[in-house]
């Protein structure tokens, strides 16, 4: 049984087709990469999965439940979390609050209980707090918990974003260029980190990445997008040697483009 299934999804923005007849399946426990030149539609795939965009066509299933067109907060509740290409923490909130807020979606308490802090709510909240602290401890940000998120150095902001995503208790974690802007050493640490959390939190991970070292090393399978079309998929080695992939990255007759 697949965890996530994307069936023939097309996404149009006005006259522009960002994604065309896209199909994808993720099995539980896999780490799968999504690569492609800039503007290929990779982030669009993430936005469709998380409900930020509603696809123009096609259907999406998560654990056999259709999630096409569902509200993003409900999709998050169903068990899909993500990070962003350009880090999008809540800059004015503290490190701890950033994690807490993602945790809070599990609170059963309603507004009144929350505002007046009734005992049942307090108990729940204490558990959330402990869980958040444990998570911060795990990612090594525990000593920085009272800092403003925007005050963290770049690499740690990336880590916090992952911690925040983990706080929603996801089954599927979408990472949008987690290694962007990292040097080789940092990228290597990140690779180890991602593998660790994958086992520890029993995750399925789907990641977009430009760092070829990272993506080839970490992924069991890779999908390649170009101009909104899937041009290849398969094991890293196979994809690496695929003629169409090489053309997409290096260009055919023209000079290399970024």
């Amino acid at each position: 049984m697949s965890l996530l299934k994307i069936e023939d999804v097309t996404m149009n923005f006005g006259g522009l087709t960002a994604l065309k007849s896209f199909n994808l399946q993720l099995m539980p426990g896999e780490i799968v990469g999504l690569i492609g030149p800039n503007g290929a539609g990779k982030t669009t795939v993430f936005n469709i999965i998380t409900g930020v965009y509603e696809p123009s066509q096609g259907r999406i299933f998560f654990m056999d439940q259709e999630i096409t067109g569902m509200r993003p907060d409900l999709i998050t509740k169903a068990g899909i979390a993500r990070t962003f290409q350009n880090i999008r923490l809540f800059p004015g909130l503290s490190v701890m609050e950033n994690v807490l807020i993602a945790n809070h979606l599990h609170l059963k308490a309603n507004y009144l209980e929350a505002v007046f802090k009734l005992p049942s709510y307090r108990r729940e909240e204490r558990q959330m707090r402990e869980k958040s602290l444990a998570l911060l401890e795990r990612v090594g940000l525990i000593d920085l918990r009272d800092e403003q998120a925007s005050a963290l150095p770049y690499g740690l902001q990336r880590r916090l974003e992952i911690a925040r995503a983990l706080a929603t208790d996801p089954k599927l974690l979408l990472l949008d260029e987690p290694a962007a802007g990292m040097n080789p050493k940092e990228a290597e640490d990140l690779t180890t980190f991602i593998k660790e959390i994958q086992t520890e939190f029993d995750l399925t991970i789907f990641l977009i990445e430009h760092h070829m070292d990272v993506v080839m090393n970490i992924s069991e399978r890779i999908y390649v997008l170009d101009y909104g079309m899937m041009i290849a998929s398969g094991k890293p080695e196979a994809v690496q040697n695929n003629q169409r992939v090489i053309e997409a990255y290096l260009g055919v007759n023209e000079n290399a483009e970024d």
């Binding site: 998380t50 409900g51 930020v52 509200r71 993003p72 907060d73 998050t76 509740k77 979390a81 993500r82 962003f84 999008r88 923490l89 809540f90 800059p91 004015g92 909130l93 609050e97 807490l100 807020i101 993602a102 809070h104 979606l105 609170l107 308490a109 507004y111 929350a114 505002v115 802090k117 909240e125 925040r164 929603t168």
Partner: protein, 297 residues
């Protein structure tokens, strides 16, 4: 000017400033979360005074039941305005939202005229609040003391709610980034609705006390205070709650002192707010506590 008289003016200024602050918070909170100037806010404030009027004068409900009821009704009204006039335009250009806000404002004003008539009505202030006490040589309404006390309590409640509760954290998160907040599992519609409810509730607190202090209500009474409180929010730095409070007090105290010290400028009382706005924005374009806005690249 004798010290007694000065203190009387000061206490007047503080209570007027308190009312401005309570209303200004509604503008600033809505701006913070939607980047929208809710022009209907002044009219929601006006509706609160009518709710109180009907509760006490028409239905003869005791004030201690009427007032909480007014808060609830006004909060519901604010949430209703959001659901009808703003929510359908969530993804529309900001200018559409602004025009809708102006429309909502006109609608509420004219609805009030149609339903309740344009004739000013006396606000049925409970005697308990309007009694006069003798302080030294001057006579001061008890209300003058109650207003700042109630305001401070309301503000403490607000600060607690925003900083210490789940709902408050959700409000802060949504005001920073709608999309990310949603992806973190926050229901943004509910959070925005709650923000309108809360802002309207504070406007109702202000409205009830305003009605007792200036005991005559009419359908257009929200226009000028609404504008002034909007100015107060801008002076303080729109989007910043502390700023709205500071702006409210500066405006309230400044206005009373202008009249007290320069009696022949009394006619310019309403212009004072605008002049002050211009002066402050010339030196601090984002308001007193406003942050410098960094261009997004």
């Amino acid at each position: 000017m004798s010290i007694d008289l000065f203190l009387q003016h000061l206490s007047n200024g503080i209570s007027l400033g308190s009312l401005y602050a309570l209303i200004a918070i509604g503008y600033t909170m809505v701006y913070g979360i939607l980047r929208l100037i809710n022009f209907a806010h002044g009219d929601i404030f006006m509706m609160a005074t009518y709710f109180a009027f009907f509760g006490i004068a028409t239905f003869r409900i005791p004030w201690f039941i009427t007032f909480p009821l007014v808060l609830v009704l006004t909060a519901a009204l604010g949430m209703g305005v959001e659901a009808v006039a703003y929510r359908p335009l969530r993804d529309a250009p900001k200018i559409s939202l602004l025009i809708s806000a102006i429309g909502a404002s006109f609608f509420l004003e004219n609805l009030t005229i149609v339903l309740f008539g344009g004739v000013p009505r006396p606000f049925p202030a409970p005697k308990l609040f309007t009694d006069v006490v003798q302080v030294g040589t001057v006579a001061i309404q008890k209300l003058t003391f109650y207003i700042p006390i109630v305001t401070v309590l309301a503000l403490l409640g607000l600060v607690y709610l925003i900083n210490k509760t789940k709902t408050g954290m959700a409000m802060r998160a949504v005001s920073m980034d709608h999309e990310t907040a949603q992806v973190m599992g926050i229901n943004i519609n509910r959070t925005i609705s709650f923000t309108f409810g809360l802002g309207s509730l504070l406007a109702a607190v202000g409205g009830i006390m305003w009605g007792m202090k200036f005991p005559q209500i009419q359908p257009l009474m929200g226009v000028v205070p609404g504008l002034k409180c909007f100015i107060a929010a801008v002076i303080g730095g729109i989007g910043n709650i502390g700023g709205a409070v500071i702006g409210g007090f500066i405006l309230g105290i400044g206005e009373i002192m202008l009249v007290a010290f320069l009696p022949n400028l009394t006619g310019y009382r309403d212009a004072f707010a605008f002049v002050l706005l211009i002066l402050i924005l010339m030196s601090k374009p984002t308001g007193i506590l406003g942050e410098k806005t960094a261009e997004k690249v």
